[in-house]
């Protein structure tokens, strides 16, 4: 099992949800209206008057084999709308109950 942390401009919310549905990924945790700035080119997403964008984040726990397809779908979404901002980070799940 892997944990995929998807953090994206909230305007992409509907599309991220669609991707999860397409891959029949059911389990996730979502935070909405959160702030963040990318390390590279990304502009701050702070929900302020100056930087009005905000992020959502999904923590998705998936089987190992689904990780690649999930990442590739997310990547193509990111490419389509590069300026909105979408990142995904994967790490291992060590234990579960």
């Amino acid at each position: 099992m892997k944990a995929v942390f998807v953090v994206y401009n909230q305007s992409l919310g509907r599309h991220v949800r669609e991707i999860l549905n397409q891959l029949t990924i059911r389990g996730f945790t979502r935070w909405t209206d959160i702030m963040g700035t990318g390390s590279g080119k990304g502009l701050p997403h702070e929900g302020t008057h100056t930087w009005p964008d905000l992020n959502n984040a999904n923590l998705v726990i998936v089987e190992d084999e689904k990780v690649d397809s999930l990442l590739s779908k997310l990547q193509s979404l990111d490419k389509e709308v590069e300026k909105e901002g979408l990142r995904a980070f994967v790490w291992d799940i060590e234990k579960m109950i």
């Binding site: 909230q10 305007s11 992409l12 919310g13 509907r14 599309h15 700035t37 590279g40 080119k41 990304g42 502009l43 008057h49 100056t50 930087w51 009005p52 964008d53 389509e80 709308v81 590069e82 300026k83 909105e84």
Partner: protein, 1047 residues
């Protein structure tokens, strides 16, 4: 969930709600009646008291003063004015606008009740009379006739007035100047004396001969039949054959001692239409009826009635208040459509996209239509105020949608998805949109709270604009994002098709403008102090321009009406007056092809009719009403024609006083409803001679000041009266008393109505009096025989002496002090200038200490309104500051933005100067509006500059970037407003004069302030911004953002 995301996610609901609003609005629109002004109830109550036989001074001392003393404590009473004339006292109570007149009437009734007992015997009960706009006739017809003239009164009564009275909403209908049939018995006093008869005896005989009497019943066989004596005159011929006496056994018939004529009552008035004998029919409406609807129905009914009238009777419309109203409303409606067209064109030119233009344009009908819903619910009408408020709103309701759509498009261009771009694009600007609309609302809503006549006029304007812009915010936050999510995509339009070419053309052009502006702005930011000094100079020099702009209450408009009054010397007899009238008639008809109908009236006519309250009548007074051809069909304006007419009248030596009243605004002006420009100087003082001299001096001074026409002094010259002084001793000797002598004289000179002759259900007076040739001179009066109780006859000359004496014909008072008014119609210049010139003259006049001078009419209105408008201006500025300060969470930034306001004023002055308009209530209202409108530009600029500074750009760069980026929205929202005003400025149709000053003010103010704002506000921002940036900027943020920008 937020409003915008709900509406984007539920497009059907959103659409249905707006369709519902549209349907409601269209329904309201169809139900709305049309009128010229909002419903105005003038707060006036009059008290009429008749005291027969008393002269002006008696009336003043015994009635007017006593009543006035009791009226002083009425609630909300503004001014108390009165006029005491022979036989009548008229007190006019002016209350504050908005007073409940029903309550006021009750109070007045109580006050009258308290004083009634103190009034002398013989005074009739005072009549309390509420003046309302419904008393102004809706329509006036002239009826001319040849053969039917003698019987016209009955024909009109039966065939015209009765059917018209049944029309819905019609109130009273009056016939003015119709001849009355009467049987005149003109007796020869010498023959009367010879047969030992008196006028009273003849009258008694006539009454006794004209009777129908039930005389019991007759039982005949089985039946019981009533007996009736039919003794009434079968026809008028019978009268002369009545036996009046059997002197010395010889039968004396009435025809032996009198001439009996079945003809018309003595003509005491002269009525002509285009020189033909005529009658006027005046139609009033019921107070809650709508003028235009009533006029339409009356007109339609009259067309039907015309067919039933004898062929020689011609009916023409002399005045129809609805025509001008409809013309003005139609004119304003087409202005509205042009404004709509301009706004849509601007939007299209800037956006270059059909779909975006469509979405933005949709907010116009929806916002305006809610205005109609408000008008319907509040019982208002479609009038020039509500319609022009829609014209103003048109340019503003698109602004919010433009801002929202612009942000959505930007999101789309960044590559976002339509639905999300719509939701988040709206969410980002929603606060800014609401705040900038709030600045508009805080300016317009207080307008609805203004007091006085200005308040009544502009309340609908404030409300309609507030409602329209509120709706436009709602539309911009719901419908606009919803439609954008459906209709807009991030497609790049092709450059080959028509719209694509327009798009690329407009974008190229705008790009060039952007570049030019950027260069100018860079220079300005580099030379801050020179820019500020230049700006300061421009503003100060514009203040000097004010000297060349006139001031007035309200512009007068060409409403196709004209009236005039000509007074000859007091005591001129009607026949002489008629000669002058005929002469003038022929001049007017020949000289002015612009006149359709000349209606002339002279003489007293029916003094008891309501018409007599509004127009002064008398044997020496000629009143004219002209119906002009519609404005489009004539070259000369009513003002030019009025000036020429003044010359025509002035050329006649017999004319003592006159006025020509273009627009017929004197009447409504006196009711405080504005229109027309009258200078009115009130001279207070109890001494007649002193005040007369001052009045004469002021009149003379006004004559020397350019632009004063129709200078009138309200107090007429003293008039001559013949007074009969009775010798009491002789009277007692003959057993007579004053009452019998007075009655006897009256019966012989004025006539005694003996009985009524009935024909076809109508009654006609049978009047007995001396033949005219026996009552023409003072000797004739002295020769009148008075019967004594002893049965002898005594000549009046034995009992009395005749004396001539002078008495003031009318005494006017205001707030319990005697007053003379000197008035003039101002044309070719403005009231403010005239007032200033007169004020220079007054100190040279040596005015006695107990005489004081005040200004009334237009000046009073002007000062009151200006005062409240200046207050409103201050209030608006404070409120706008409050809104902006809380929006920016800063004290300084709103202050920077408010620098655009003085330049709006500069623009107003320049525009008023160029277009030769004046500072009046309407242009001032426009100026107040500007406060809300011009700060919008500043808000857009400063807000975005703040954004750029926060995002880490250097001050100069932020200012220039923000300027370049916001140039289009600023120009676009300003242009929509400016262009929406142009149709109002160039329109020349009916009523356009009234609203032009406002359009000019907004046009000039907004154009100038937009240009200045674009350069000055960024410059000032850099001055104030330096300190701010030094304080707030943190190093890390700077480093971080610069990194981002580098990459």
């Amino acid at each position: 969930m937020s409003l915008y995301s709900t509406s984007v996610k539920k497009p059907v609901t959103t659409l249905m709600i707006f369709i519902g609003v549209l349907i409601l609005g269209i329904y309201s629109y169809m139900q709305l009646p049309v009128d010229f002004y909002p419903k105005i109830d003038p707060p006036y109550i009059s008290v009429f008291t008749y005291y027969d036989g008393a002269n002006a001074t008696d009336v003043e001392q015994n009635i007017t003063r006593k009543l006035e003393d009791n009226f002083g404590s009425l609630t909300n009473l503004k001014t108390l004015s009165s006029s005491s004339k022979d036989n009548i006292s008229v007190i006019t109570l002016e209350f504050e606008w908005g007073t409940n007149l029903d309550e006021a009437t009750n109070e007045v009734r109580n006050a009258v009740g308290m004083v009634e007992r103190q009034l002398p015997d013989g005074v009739k009960t005072p009549t309390i009379f509420k003046i309302s706009t419904s008393m102004i006739p809706v329509m006036v017809f002239t009826v001319t006739a040849n053969e039917s003239y003698e019987g016209i009164k009955d024909i009109l009564d039966n065939k015209v007035i009765q059917p018209l009275n049944r029309v819905d909403g019609v109130g009273n209908i009056y016939q003015i100047g119709s001849p009355e049939r009467a049987i005149m018995v003109d007796v020869d006093p010498r023959k009367l004396d010879a047969y030992d008869l008196t006028v009273e005896q003849i009258s008694g005989i006539l009454t006794a001969n004209n009777l129908n009497l039930p005389s019991g019943s007759l039982k005949m066989g089985k039946s019981d039949l009533p007996l009736r004596l039919q003794g009434e005159f079968a026809n008028s011929d019978v009268v002369k054959n009545i036996i009046v006496s059997n002197a010395n056994g010889k039968t004396v018939y009435l025809r032996d001692i009198a001439t009996v004529r079945d003809s018309l009552k003595d003509v005491d008035s002269y009525e002509r239409a285009n020189g033909n004998k005529s009658v006027r029919i005046m139609v009033q409406k019921q107070s809650d009826a709508n003028t235009v609807t009533v006029a339409e129905k009356v007109r339609a009914k009259m067309e039907k009635i015309k067919k039933t009238l004898p062929p020689d009777i011609k009916v023409d419309i002399l005045m129809d208040t609805s025509v001008n109203t409809l013309a003005s409303i139609n004119n304003l409606s087409s202005t509205l459509l042009y404004a709509l067209l301009f706004v849509v064109l601007v939007v299209f030119l800037f956006l270059g996209r059909w779909r975006a233009t469509f979405i933005i344009s949709l907010s116009i009908p929806i916002s305006l239509i809610t205005g109609f819903i408000y008008m319907f619910l509040s019982g208002s009408t479609i009038n020039i105020i509500t319609l022009s408020s829609l014209s103003i709103a048109i340019g503003m309701v698109v602004d919010d949608s433009i801002v929202v759509l612009e942000n959505i498009t930007k999101k789309l261009e960044k590559g976002g998805f339509a639905r999300e771009a719509a939701i988040f694009g709206t969410s980002e600007v929603s606060l800014a949109v609401m705040a900038s609309t709030l600045t508009i609302i805080v300016v317009f809503l207080p307008m609805a709270m203004l007091g006085g006549i200005t308040g009544i006029m502009f309340r609908p304007l404030g409300m309609v604009v507030t409602i329209a812009v509120t709706t436009s915010v709602i539309v911009s936050l719901t419908l606009t994002p919803m439609l954008s999510s459906k209709l807009l995509g991030n497609r790049v339009s092709s450059t080959t098709n028509f719209s694509g070419r327009i798009y690329s053309f407009s974008q190229n052009m705008l790009g060039k403008i952007d570049n030019v502006y950027e260069k100018i702005l860079s220079w300005a930011v580099g030379h801050r102090w020179s820019v500020i000094i230049i700006a300061g100079c421009v503003f100060l020099s514009s203040v000097f321009l004010m000297k060349f702009i006139g001031t007035e209450f309200m512009s007068s408009s060409d409403n196709d009406r004209l009236s005039a009054q000509v007074k000859l010397a007091q005591g001129t007899k009607l026949e002489e007056t008629v000669l002058t009238a005929k002469h003038l008639d022929s001049i007017f008809m020949k000289k002015y092809p612009e006149i359709e109908i000349v209606s002339t009236s002279a003489g007293t006519g029916d003094e008891n009719s309501l018409a007599a309250i509004f127009t002064e009548t008398g044997n020496y007074i000629i009143n004219y009403t002209f119906k002009m051809k519609p404005r489009a069909e004539r070259k000369k304006s009513i003002f030019d024609i009025a000036n020429e007419m003044r010359k025509d009248i002035e050329a006649l030596p017999e004319v003592e006083k006159y006025y020509v009243d273009p627009g017929s605004t004197r009447m409504s002006g006196s009711m405080g409803m504005g229109g027309g420009n009258y200078m009115e100087v009130k001279i207070f003082g109890n001494n007649f001679d002193e005040t007369d001299i001052v009045a004469e001096k002021i009149a003379q001074a006004l004559k020397n000041i350019k632009g004063n026409k129709d200078i009138l002094i309200s107090r007429d010259r003293e008039k001559t009266e013949l007074q009969l002084v009775l010798d009491n001793e002789k009277m007692t000797y003959f057993g007579l008393n004053t009452a019998t002598v007075a009655a006897a004289i009256r019966n012989r000179v004025t006539g005694l109505t003996a009985t009524k002759y009935r024909e076809d259900g109508n009654e006609y007076d049978v009047i007995v009096r001396y033949d005219e040739k026996y009552r023409q001179s003072t000797e004739d009066i002295a020769n009148i025989s008075i019967p004594t109780p002893q049965g002898r006859l005594v000549k009046l000359g034995e009992l009395t002496t005749l004396k001539r004496f002078y008495s003031p014909p009318n005494i006017e008072r205001e707030n319990k002090v005697r007053m003379v008014k000197v008035s003039s119609a101002v044309s070719g210049t403005d009231i403010g200038t005239v007032k200033a010139a007169l004020e220079n003259e007054i100190p040279k006049m040596n005015i006695p200490d107990d005489v004081s001078i005040d200004y009334g009419s237009s000046i009073e209105n002007m000062q009151d309104s200006f005062k409240s408008l200046v207050m409103l201006l201050m209030l608006s500025m404070v409120l706008v500051y409050i809104v902006m300060a809380s929006q920016f969470e800063s004290y300084i930034e709103p202050f920077i933005i408010m620098f655009s306001i003085p330049f709006a004023f500069t623009g107003v002055f320049i525009a008023l100067f160029i277009f030769h308009a004046t500072i009046n209530v309407i242009s001032l209202i426009g100026t107040v509006m500007l406060i809300g409108i011009v700060v919008k530009n500043g808000i857009i600029l400063v807000d975005y500059t703040n954004l750029m500074v926060d995002r880490g750009y250097s001050l100069k760069k932020a200012v220039i970037m923000a300027g370049r980026s916001r140039l289009r929205p600023v120009i676009m929202t300003s242009l929509t407003m400016i262009l929406a005003m142009i149709p109002m400025i160039v329109s020349t149709g009916s009523g356009s004069e009234t609203w032009r000053p406002m359009a000019i003010a907004i046009f000039g103010g907004l154009t100038f302030s937009t240009l200045v704002t674009l350069i000055l506000i960024p410059t000032i921002y850099t001055i104030f911004g330096v300190g701010k940036i030094k304080k707030s900027r943190k190093k890390q943020v700077k480093l971080l953002t610069e990194n981002i920008l580098m990459s």
